[in-house]
């Protein structure tokens, strides 16, 4: 089923932006715009992701352009690394494929007041304790059990619900996108199947590319912003990458089933069944939006519980409370989500549905949704890389509002398939290789490390270079992993 590489028109319109003109495919309402440099675009051409960018351009109500970040790769319907905004006033649609199966997959970064030299002697013990405390991998259930009523409350309230039970502190909410609670999420629109899948998985990491890493600040690129974020060279931090677990997958799955008849019902012509969508202002659209928001709140809650477990492990290993260890949340941001936001389009302020599928919100300084503590510098953007190289902290900048509906990249993007990565080497060998690079890694699946090895990903530094150059977000600090736990 592999198709040859993209051979359609691709115009280089600036040093890091490429265009697929609207004339490429019948039905395209806007151009496709891809943010990438010469090196990345060569990799990007090799799969069908660019064709998917063109397909998204056919969606009713799409504004400005179908956008792709430099970490774009093939996804279901929408490419991963895609951004599209639709205007409900122009018949705009909402698409579960534009959010992805893992609703509110995202990243959270927690600071500590520890430095590399203090942590290094304990890293093995620390990684082991994290691995045995935090449930990872397929089929694992968490230590926090919520019945179905509690799970629905948790979806309505987000992390506030668990914080009220002592699992975190209210100030954690100030540093979470949307304060961890997207209004008008309706847990009653989430199916019983989804609630059942979610009720025992809150506070579990999951598998695939999800991880919890102990990282060290490896380089500072903007001293003022790093200072505002409370980041210094050699400081140890924890990065958590996970989403809404089985609950989110099920909400997406339910919506795709519900949307099966929508293209015919609403006269929408789709080039790919997986692009399933419904008008925002339709019973199906409204139902999905309410359920998706509730699932997103669950996702924030999941990362809150993962953070809280990490805080407890650090306290145990270092013999001090997490507060004494300065384990404050820097920021939690989603990279699989659709949100109703205000944007300037051709000089007019519009409320549009911004779909970010593998793209991170990157609001600049002054935006009211940036936490007060950072409003003068901009929103922290957390970019997870692969476990051998680096992850990044960026800051949202003005270019994102002008070009990408306030969005930037979300990670490295896969370069090798799982099978190819697994054939390339064994997990055992990867563990040794990582250790050689100073990274202690533990995974629950035999194939986990091999499938997720550094070679399977593009170099995140290349991706970040592009978004920095395009002024979608600017470099603040680079993080190097020293401890990894995975599914």
């Amino acid at each position: 089923m592999a198709k040859p590489e993209f051979t359609g028109p691709l115009e280089n319109i600036s040093s890091c932006c490429w265009r697929i003109p609207r004339s490429y495919k019948p039905g395209m309402r806007v151009d496709g715009l891809i943010f990438a440099n010469d090196k990345l675009i060569e990799t990007i051409r090799k799969d069908q992701a660019l064709d998917q960018v063109a397909n998204v351009a056919t969606l009713p109500g799409i504004q400005k352009a179908s956008l792709a970040m430099p970490d774009i790769h093939w996804g279901y319907g929408f490419c991963i690394g895609g951004v599209c905004a639709t205007d409900p006033a122009e018949g705009g649609v909402i698409s579960p494929g534009g959010v992805g199966y893992d609703i509110n997959c995202g990243v959270r970064m927690v600071k500590t007041n520890l430095f590399l030299e203090e942590v290094k002697p304990h890293i093995r013990e620390l990684v082991k304790a994290l691995f045995y405390t935090i449930p990872t991998g397929a089929g694992r259930t968490g230590r926090y059990k919520f019945d179905t009523t509690e799970t629905r409350r948790l979806m309505a309230e987000g992390p506030r619900f668990v914080i009220s039970r002592g699992l975190g502190v209210p100030r954690d909410l100030d540093h979470t996108e949307a304060h961890g609670c997207i209004p008008e999420g309706d847990p009653d629109e989430v199916s019983d199947h989804a609630v059942k899948r979610g009720s025992e998985q809150c506070g579990t990491l999951g598998s695939g590319n999800h991880f919890l890493e102990v990282q060290v600040v490896d380089a500072i690129f903007d001293a003022d912003v790093a200072n505002a974020f409370g980041l210094e060279l050699n400081q140890v931090c924890v990065m958590i990458h996970s989403g809404s677990r089985g609950l989110g997958y099920q909400v997406c799955d339910d919506a795709l089933a519900l949307f099966r008849g929508c293209p015919t019902k609403y006269g929408i012509e789709l080039p790919d069944r997986q692009l399933a969508c419904a008008p925002v202002e339709s019973p199906e659209g409204r139902k999905y939006i309410a359920a998706m928001r509730a699932a997103a709140n669950y996702g924030f809650c999941n990362r809150q519980l993962l953070m809280q477990q990490a805080r407890e492990v650090f306290a145990e290993v270092f013999g001090r409370s997490w507060e004494e260890l300065g384990m404050e949340l820097l920021y939690d941001v989603a990279h699989n989500i659709a949100k109703l936001e205000e944007h300037q389009i051709d000089g007019v302020t519009k409320r549009v549905w911004v779909h970010r599928k593998g793209a991170t919100r990157a609001f600049p300084a002054g935006h009211p949704e940036v936490p007060e503590a950072f409003r003068a510098v901009g929103q922290p953007v957390i970019i997870p890389g692969d476990m051998g190289r680096a992850s990044w902290v960026l800051v949202g900048s003005s270019g994102s509002m002008e070009k990408t509906f306030g969005s930037t990249c979300h990670g490295a993007g896969r370069a090798l398939s799982r099978t190819a990565a697994k054939q390339d080497t064994s997990s055992r060998k990867i563990e040794k290789e990582l250790e050689h690079r100073g990274v202690i890694a533990m995974a629950s699946s035999r194939f986990g490390l091999a499938e997720e090895q550094p070679k399977a990903y593009k170099n995140v530094d290349d991706v970040v270079d592009v978004v920095h150059q395009a002024n979608l977000s600017r470099k603040v600090a680079r993080m190097r992993p020293i401890g990894v736990i995975k599914g």
Partner: protein, 140 residues
Amino acid sequence: MIHGMYELFEHTADLGLRIRAADLNTLFAEAGECLFTAILEDITTVEPDVAISIEVMGTDRELLLFDWLRELLLKFEEDHLVFRYFQVEVREDGLTGTAWGEAVDPTRHQLAHEVKAITYHGLRVEEMEGEWLAEVIVDI
């Protein structure tokens, strides 16, 4: 006995299931088995202690296969059951399937992949030269 065969194929971030069989009933049964070879490291560790029955309605064969696998995945996700043997009767208006397996026992069942969902991408059920072929990609 009519037999079928299946394999997992690669797909950038995910896994594909490819199944061939002489008839539709075997194709669907083999698809069930193939799904659990993606979920489990070794499907032969599963004992057929319990049987569950699944009814799916619909006339579109591709969606029927999708829904059959979706129901099996739900039994795994919600009830923590894994399956090894499958029997399916595909009709014009739907299907009746039975799956035999047991509750997940972490001491005997090593999980290989977390299958998030069955996807519609590249979903195929086709008859070619007297043989049935199905392809499904699962999100992991």
